[in-house]
Symmetry: C2
Subunit: 137 residues, 2 copies
Amino acid sequence: MIQYNRDNMAELLRAHDINPTHQRIEIAYALFSRQEHLSADQVMAIVNGRHAETSKATVYNTLNLFLEKGLIREVIVDPSKVFYDPNTGPHHHLYEVDSGRLTDIKADDIRIEGLPDLPQGVETVGIDLIVRVKRTA
Amino acid sequence: MIQYNRDNMAELLRAHDINPTHQRIEIAYALFSRQEHLSADQVMAIVNGRHAETSKATVYNTLNLFLEKGLIREVIVDPSKVFYDPNTGPHHHLYEVDSGRLTDIKADDIRIEGLPDLPQGVETVGIDLIVRVKRTA
DNA sequence: CTAGGATTTGGACTCTGTCTAACTATCGGA
DNA sequence: TCCGATAGTTAGACAGAGTCCAAATCCTAG
């Protein structure tokens, strides 16, 4: 397990063709050091924990940049906000609808069989499998 | 294949313990006669096609009521809006990211194997499988 | 040191969806 | 028939996520 630090982050960004600025490093660090699914406003809160340092616009710009560059992944499970996932490897998600907690499911053992052929002129971008659960009463 | 009409709809609503009002019948009819995935504002546009008849608040109230009563299903694939699906049977979804088109995939032949055990004290609400595709350049 | 491109910023703005308080429709009973 | 109670609808204000823009700031090469 790698220890994440700011220097790591700068390298990681460069490797993905992203100019590593202060703000971008902080945002990357927030996501990767925790290995959690964070929403944009959670990222905001973390990055600006002590003093206000990064604007809302930059948080959104940066997250979208990371997305484009394939550094992180977007998880759409909640109609009210998007989660960002630093884990881009193949895996699936477990969503607790009452608490909003989102956790990974390893893809290792999961097989999805019998998917029909795709329509013409179309290629797969991704397959999202989301298991929605709630606490039993 | 059943022909859907307003009388059908009234029965359908009653069967789901929903008082069939004008507005509710129109909204149900919009969804079921098309058998398509519609967003709230698309429902608005259809229902108010000729003359304004139904307010935004009623459209949202009604769609949420239908959801609670299990008459329709919610499909969360696009961060900017929710789709409503009149098909509540088991099936999955194909989402064209560039056009926003959302279509069904029959669940008949699909097997999902190897899902890990759920955490304690939790029960499955639903499993959503979304295949995201884009047009090949 | 300086010019120029890249980045960041605050704030206005848009859009989806919710809330509220007033209004309307409906229905059962006297 | 009239009445009140309850359910449903409405306009418009509001909330929160996310985008946009023009101005300010930050690098970096020269």
